[in-house]
């Protein structure tokens, strides 16, 4: 057990260090301007680590008070994480005003459906409320990011490398959280140490992905209000497509008549 605890402490220290490195990159590379909520999320996670260490030092690790504080802070972090994901989605889709209008409705529907699904399937929902909320939120984040990737792929929309990496990090972390929470749901206390360890480990993996992206990519250019074509190209596209399509429709109109003549 002490060996496991030492390993957990080491993991915790490495993760906090990685969070600090990420924050430094976000500030130095000026990513905090384009991603203020994500930067706040990283800062809040660092504060969460400090707060948790403080509560563990002051009170008994397994006391009711520590349990309550842990989950309240976790709830706040989950909400900020959700806001950071929404910021990313907005950042990716916003330049395409109409796709954004469709996308946000679709993604909100995905979030709602996943939360209802989680509430219906979770065992003893109210008794294990924090765990179920954590799992539901993680599943919603993962589902919404996958839906976002499918959506952008369908429309062939460009995605900046930083946004892409942040999304992948959030999605992988969320998926592993769902798996971890589900196993924890079954085995509860006997799995507690391993649950903590794996939870932090997957977050560390996401942090490394984000650090790589924040280090490799310069500050992002502010999103344009419109995409792909200029006003002149618009006019050109409109006229030429209309002529082509009218011609096409006229030809199609002749097909039934020619078929009648043949039969």
């Amino acid at each position: 057990m002490p060996a496991a605890l030492n390993l957990s402490n080491l993991e915790w220290a490495v993760t906090t260090l990685a969070e600090l490195i990420l924050l430094v990159y976000l500030v130095r590379r000026k990513h905090f301007r384009s991603h203020p909520v994500f930067s706040s999320y990283v800062l809040i996670v660092i504060l969460q680590s400090a707060f948790t260490a403080l509560t563990y030092a002051l009170w008994d690790f397994q006391s009711q008070k520590v349990w309550l504080m842990f989950w309240l802070v976790q709830l706040a972090v989950t909400l900020v994480r959700f806001a950071a994901v929404m910021e990313l989605i907005r950042h990716i889709l916003r330049p395409f005003s109409g796709v954004w209008a469709l996308g946000r409705r679709l993604l909100l529907a995905v979030v709602g459906a996943v939360l209802v699904y989680t509430a219906l399937l979770s065992r003893e929902y109210w008794r294990k409320l924090p765990l179920n909320l954590d799992r539901g939120a993680a599943l919603a984040v993962a589902a919404v990011i996958v839906a976002l990737f499918l959506f952008t792929r369908y429309y062939g929309l460009p995605m900046e490398n930083l946004d892409r990496s942040l999304c992948i990090g959030f999605c992988l972390y969320s998926c592993f959280s769902v798996i971890n929470d589900s196993i924890f749901d079954k085995f509860l206390l006997s799995y507690l140490n391993l649950w903590n360890f794996l939870g932090v480990l997957t977050f560390l993996a996401s942090l490394l992905v984000w650090i790589g992206a924040a280090h490799a990519n310069p500050a992002t250019v502010p999103a344009r209000d419109f995409a792909f074509v200029s006003k002149e190209e618009y006019g050109k596209l409109s006229t030429e497509v209309n002529v082509r399509l009218r011609e096409l429709n006229e030809r199609l109109d002749h097909v039934p008549h020619s078929e009648d003549q043949h039969s």
Partner: protein, 191 residues
Amino acid sequence: MSFTIILFILLAVLLIGALLWAARPIERGAISADTVLRALSEEHHYSRLSKILQVLQPGDTAFLGPRGFTALRNQIRSERKRIALLYLDDLQREYEMLLEASRVIAAMAPELIAMDEAKRFKLNLRFAMGCRYLRWKLRLGLEPQNVFGWLSEMSGGMALRLELATNHIGDRAAVSSDYSSILDEGGNGPE
């Protein structure tokens, strides 16, 4: 382990798989308006539909049988079937290009056709299935007339929707250009 826990884990694994698939780089790349225009300005395959339908009529080659040219008749029919299959490939490519064009337009002015997106997706599935069905009908030597007509109607429907969308884009471009010129005039007024 309970069924619900397995469901959650399975869903998470599925999402990881879907993420890996969806995060792959897009092979076709971002299509530009110019590419769409170039593709739209190429000659369309619809124009040859009536000829294709005519040559697939059994009556078109039936006279060869009684005159002792059965082998020739079979060879001609088989050649025509091969050409009809090639035509079908082109029709499908053309439809996919139209779909791609509609996506490009959607990215530019999608609020105008956002309501049709789900319909278009279903239409695309129906078209793909229709093409497959028609290929099998042609290979098995069955009458393909009705399905060809049906596919053409679908392509026509897609073209009409595109036309509607591009009309709106044109209107919007005209309005914004009028607005810009009004602004310019307003700016120049006091000088």
